[in-house]
Every structure is written in structure tokens, then in C-alpha cells.
């Protein structure tokens, strides 16, 4: 430790403090170091020197992450946020999000700063405010600032529009009554080309549907066709390096669109009809064995299983799951088993076709997969297949892991008593 630079004075840089703390060899040493540092920060706070505020806050955040209490620093966040400069606001808002949570009353004091920053001429400051609001606002703050956020949904910069869209999600979750105010601007955003705005707008519409019956009906009526077209264009779009992941254009957008279509198609035959083609296309044309492609297929299957009946599509869905079950990647096998559990209620016969593969999964190396598979077998048991199925299970009982034996035996007993 250099005698000239005392790591426990506010003149010290953040990284020097971090290094000093990391050099502590015991928990007691660390506690002593932290105590010393907090004392120095407290003194610096009392001196009210604006130059060190920025650095003090960063140090406090580091100390907080180590698990030590840092309540005395909360007001520093507010002072930083109230500063005119961008660097102070940036760290102030970060401190706010890290050191406070929505239940603390201190949070209310930020509302005024937030309002000013939401109207700032510097769009990056507007962005900071939207981010903070979207991450931790309380219901009261949501109510106060909803009109600003609503206005920002039509801001000239797409970076702000997309942040406003996500911020709106938090607002409508906190105050569902406000949902109808966001309906029109949200649906307008669905026509945009910017992927960031589209992703967030689609998510906003999905959440609007969940929160408000009127929103669901409105979006279903007015937007389903356009959404189907957007997905179609995306699925057919040429290679774009910016959005390509594993050979697919923007899988995230694919997935969000599929999710929204699911919400719109559920319980409505017309809406479901209009999406059949694109679902078939995505289900059959999505190639590649990478995670991104499988994530899309997984979402597609979920949508098919939730919307109104098309037996052809359902057969396709179950066959996708069947392929998943034989996939070498255990993540894929795991999600397939999950989905099959849900599919069983709708179409047990279709699932039964994969009985053999499911039984293989009961013997899987991965414990969570074994557990899932066993549950699935239990659900699949009926009078005709109880004998062969139980026979398989009992023979596996002889060779399986000690800890699994308990579960397996219990399940076999429940099957027999069924």
C-alpha cells in the first residue's frame, strides 16, 4: 500500500479502494477496511464537495454489492441526479436503481427530478430517466409520470421510443387503470421498422392484452393481420449481419411476435385461422440445431398448442417436440418434456406415440430430465398401457441411482393405485 495514496480517503480512486479491499485476507480484515472506507465517505458527504460525489457513489455501490449497509448514501443518489451534468446523472440513476427499492419513501423525492429529466433536451438524459422509472417506479410515481412517458412513445428518436415502451409496461402493471391511455400509441408503434422499437412495442401490446380485456379485443381486431405480415416478412427477410443469430434474422423479434399472436389467437377462431400459414411456415422452415432456432420452434409450438384447433398444425407441433426429445442437447429435451406435459391434456394419443423416447428420458443422466419424464409417464398411464409401462419402470428401478429410487418407487405405487 503506497503511503502517499491513502486508500481510505475520498481522494482515492475507485479502483484503488477495490484493490485494497480485495487484498484483505480475512472477513474481519475486510470488515475493518469497509468500516474505514465508509467513515471516509461519510466525512466526504458531510463536506458536501460536489467533485467527489460521483466517486463516493461508485464506491458506495461497490460496498453495497459486497453486502454491507449503505443507507447513508441514499441522499447522494438524489444529489447526483439533481446535478446538471450527464456523468453525475448517469451514476446517480444507477445508484438509485441499485441502492434503493420501490418501497422506500426516499424514492418519492426523485419524482420531480425525473419529471424534469423526462423533458430534457439531451436525449441521453431522457433515456436515463426512462430506464430508472421503468425499473423501479412505485404505483404513485407511475401515476404521476405516465403522461410524460406516453408522450415519449412518439419521440423522434427510436432509442427513446423503445425505452418509453418498456417503461410503459411497468406503468400499466403498477396501475392497470392507465392501460387504455397507452393503447393507441402502442399499436401505432407496431408499424415501425426499427427492430428495437418493434420488440418493445410487441412486448407492450402483449402486456396490455394481459392487463385489459378491451385492449385485447382492440388489438386482436385491428392488428392481427399486420402482425402476421410482419412475422412473415421477418421470416423471409434476407441476411442482415446486424440482427443475424445462428443464421436467423432477429430470433428475439420472431419469438415476441409468436408470443403476441398466441395471446391474440387464444379463444378466437378467426384470429387463429389467420395465423395458421405463418405458424406452419415457421414450424417447418426453421432449420439449424442452434439454441436460437430451437427457441423459436419452442415458442411456435407453444403458440400452436394454445390457439384454436387446427389438427394439422398440432401434429406438426407434437412432431417438433418428438424431435426435441431425441436431441443431444439436454436443454432441448428438458423443454420438450415440459411442453409435452401441457400437450397431454389436449391430445394424449399424439403424445403416446413418443412413449418409447419418453421412457428413455426416465433413464436420462440429468436428474431434472428424469424427474420430468417420470411425471409425464405418470400422466400418460391408462388402462391399456399400465402393464407394459409399469414393467419398464420396475426394471429400471433395479439399475437406477439411489436418490432416484425413492421417487420412482413412489410413482410406481401411485400408478398401481390409480
Amino acid at each position: 500500500m503506497d503511503p502517499i495514496l491513502n486508500p481510505f480517503s475520498s481522494g482515492t480512486r475507485l479502483r484503488d479502494m477495490i484493490r485494497t479491499i480485495r487484498a484483505c485476507k480475512t472477513a474481519a480484515e475486510e470488515r475493518a477496511a469497509i468500516r474505514k472506507e465508509c467513515a471516509a465517505i461519510r466525512d466526504s458527504i458531510n463536506e458536501n464537495d460536489p467533485d467527489y460525489r460521483h466517486r463516493n457513489l461508485a464506491k458506495l455501490m461497490f460496498i453495497h454489492m459486497l453486502g454491507y449497509p449503505t443507507h447513508f448514501g441514499q441522499m447522494e443518489c438524489l444529489k447526483c441526479i439533481a446535478s446538471p451534468g450527464f456523468p453525475e446523472k448517469r451514476i446517480g440513476y444507477l445508484g438509485l436503481m441499485l441502492l434503493l427499492d420501490e418501497r422506500q419513501e426516499v424514492l418519492m423525492l426523485v419524482t420531480n427530478s425525473l419529471k424534469q429529466d423526462l423533458n430534457h433536451t439531451n436525449q441521453y438524459i431522457v433515456g436515463l430517466a426512462l430506464c430508472a422509472l421503468g425499473n423501479i417506479c412505485s404505483a404513485e410515481m407511475a401515476r404521476d409520470l405516465a403522461p410524460e412517458v406516453e408522450r415519449l412513445l412518439q419521440f423522434r428518436d427510436p432509442n427513446i421510443r423503445k425505452k418509453a415502451a418498456l417503461c410503459s409496461i411497468r406503468i400499466i402493471k403498477k396501475v392497470p387503470d392507465l392501460a387504455e391511455n397507452f393503447l393507441k400509441p402502442a399499436t401505432a408503434l407496431l408499424r415501425e421498422k426499427h427492430h428495437g422499437v418493434l420488440i418493445t412495442a410487441v412486448q407492450l401490446c402483449t402486456d396490455l392484452c394481459k392487463v385489459s380485456r378491451e385492449a385485447l379485443e382492440h388489438i386482436r381486431k385491428k392488428c392481427t393481420e399486420d402482425l402476421v405480415k410482419t412475422l412473415k416478412d421477418l421470416a423471409n427477410s434476407p441476411y442482415s449481419p446486424e440482427y443475424d443469430i445462428s443464421g436467423i434474422a432477429d430470433p428475439f423479434l420472431h419469438i415476441r411476435l409468436l408470443k403476441l399472436l398466441r395471446v391474440l389467437g387464444e379463444g378466437d377462431a378467426d384470429a387463429s385461422d389467420s395465423m395458421n400459414d405463418i405458424l406452419a411456415q415457421v414450424g417447418t422452415k426453421t432449420e439449424s440445431n442452434k439454441v436460437a432456432a430451437n427457441a423459436i420452434l419452442y415458442e411456435c409450438v407453444q403458440t400452436i398448442m394454445s390457439i384454436e384447433g387446427n389438427s394439422g398444425l398440432r401434429v406438426l407441433a407434437i412432431s417438433i417436440l418428438g424431435k426435441f426429445l431425441s436431441n443431444r442437447d439436454n436443454n432441448i429435451r428438458y423443454v420438450a418434456l415440459n411442453m409435452l406435459m401441457k400437450a397431454v391434456t389436449a391430445d394424449p394419443q399424439a403424445v403416446l406415440r413418443y412413449r418409447a423416447t419418453i421412457l428413455e428420458c426416465v433413464k436420462d443422466a440429468d436428474a431434472s430430465i428424469r424427474k420430468r419424464a417420470l411425471e409425464l409417464v405418470y400422466v400418460l398411464v391408462n388402462e391399456t398401457n399400465v402393464k407394459p409401462l409399469t414393467k419398464e419402470l420396475v426394471s429400471y428401478l433395479e439399475t437406477c441411482d439411489q436418490d432416484f429410487k425413492g421417487d420412482l418407487t413412489a410413482k410406481i405405487c401411485s400408478i398401481v393405485s390409480k
Partner: protein
């Protein structure tokens, strides 16, 4: 939605936490302890999903760090794996082959990047390029503010304030045996000498980032370290033959003021 994001080291140290649902400070500590216990003890070949308290936690290990995201039961786990990877790739591009130390000493930057990726527990941007561009724009706003702050009125205080540039320069001379390895710290009040921590006496280490510590009363003369910016050298009408040029310095990086 994503309820929280957790980055923990193999030893269970927390490197980053972000909460999108209401958890009190006490609840957060409890969650971290519990989840760390569950995830750090999982065998390597198991799948990346854990069921926990009615939620699903998706985790992936990158070198010495576990990236964890807690989602709802009906969310798409495979997609969240991609979101984690998206974040890691952006961090990698920003820090240039990111490692755990980068995230420790620059945790605030890791948060800034996460804030461009997720808000309210939902994905904000699918283009890594856009995220990188937005972060760069904000970083340069911070730079500009710093430069303005270090104008005339702050010169007096500069002596105790953080530096802007670290310029590496090496001089070696077999005849004079002047120490070869010196870093020079430029401030508006003059030059201060530093000696590299790796203890090398000769030879520059341009490919390594080395920490410097200030040297009081350096035993080597500062006079030979007659620094010139490169354009002065290139445009000089006459170069003094008595001057020894061994190396041109390279700005290796700008340092964060905090």
C-alpha cells in the same frame, strides 16, 4: 419477465445484481445465498434450467462467472439463454475479451450496458451494434464533460485529481544506462515519473496493460524524457542529431475519473 439478473463467481462472490421485481434488501440477500447454493453445486453436464420457488432460473457459466436470470414459469427458457449470450457478447466487444477482473473494476460499466439491454425485465434491443453505439455515445459525453471540467479553473486542483492520459515511453541506451522503462503521466502541471509494476528495467511492454505507481524522487533523471507529440516530430524542419529517439509513445488508454 425477467425478475432479476445475478452474476456470481465460482466462489460465490456477487459481481452484479439487478432486480426488476420488488425485493427488499433482506430478501435480496436471502435470494442470493439460496440461489448461489443451488447453482454452484450443480454438476457441469446438467441442463441450464433450475426450478426454484415457483420460478425458473436460467444460468450459464462463462469462464469463472455464472450468469443467472430468473424468469416466470411460462417464459421461454431457450430464449433467455440467448439473451444471456447476447449480453456476454456485448460485454466482450466492449471490454475486448472480457474477463472477471474487468467486471469487478468496471462494474458500473457492466450495469450501464445491462441497462441498454433490459428495462422492466424485458429485452430492449436485439442489435449488438446499436447497444455498442449507444454506450459509446454516452461514454463520450462523459469524456467531454471531464475535459471541460479540467479547464483553467481546475489546474490548481489537478495535482490531486485523476489523470487523463497515460503515455508509455521507453528509452534505452547502452551507453548511458539510463533506466529503460518508464511511464510518464501527463497532467497540465507537468510530468511525473512512474515505474512500471512488473519491474522490468529494459524493454517496453506495449502489448501489456501495466499498472503504474507514482515514484517520489525518481533516481533516474527526467531530463532525458523529452517528450514530443508525434506530429511535432513528423513536421519538424530540423531534427537535432544529439537527441536520442528510441521509441514513440502510444496512448494506451484513457482512465475513468472515478
Amino acid at each position: 419477465m425477467i425478475h432479476f439478473v445475478l452474476l456470481i463467481s465460482r466462489q460465490g462472490k456477487v459481481r452484479l445484481t439487478k432486480w426488476y421485481s420488488p425485493y427488499t434488501q433482506k430478501e435480496r440477500s436471502k435470494v442470493i445465498r439460496e440461489l448461489s447454493g443451488v447453482i454452484l453445486t450443480r454438476a457441469p453436464k446438467l441442463c441450464n434450467f433450475v426450478e426454484w420457488r415457483g420460478y425458473k432460473v436460467v444460468y450459464k457459466r462463462y469462464a469463472s462467472l455464472y450468469f443467472c436470470m430468473c424468469i416466470d414459469e411460462d417464459d421461454n427458457e431457450l430464449e433467455v439463454l440467448e439473451i444471456i449470450h447476447h449480453y456476454v457478447e456485448i460485454l466482450d466487444r466492449y471490454f475486448g475479451s472480457v474477463c472477471e477482473l474487468d467486471l469487478i473494476f468496471n462494474f458500473h460499466k457492466a450495469y450501464y450496458i445491462l441497462d441498454e439491454l433490459l428495462i422492466a425485465g424485458e429485452l430492449q434491443e436485439s442489435s449488438k451494434k446499436t447497444v455498442a453505439r449507444l454506450i459509446a455515445a454516452q461514454d463520450s459525453l462523459v469524456e467531454t464533460a471531464k475535459e471541460e471540467a479540467s479547464s483553467i479553473s481546475n489546474i490548481i486542483a489537478q495535482a490531486t485529481k485523476p489523470e487523463l492520459l497515460v503515455l508509455w515511453l521507453a528509452i534505452s541506451s547502452e551507453e548511458t544506462h539510463t533506466p529503460a522503462h518508464a511511464g510518464v503521466h501527463l497532467t497540465s502541471t507537468g510530468t511525473t515519473a512512474y515505474r512500471a509494476d512488473n519491474g522490468d528495467r529494459f524493454g517496453p511492454a506495449f502489448s501489456n496493460r501495466t499498472r503504474v505507481t507514482p515514484v517520489v524522487n525518481p533516481s533516474f533523471p527526467l531530463e532525458p524524457l523529452r517528450l514530443k507529440p508525434i506530429n511535432e516530430l513528423l513536421e519538424a524542419e530540423r531534427i537535432d542529431d544529439a537527441e536520442l529517439f528510441d521509441m514513440v509513445g502510444v496512448v494506451v488508454g484513457r482512465e475513468d475519473p472515478i
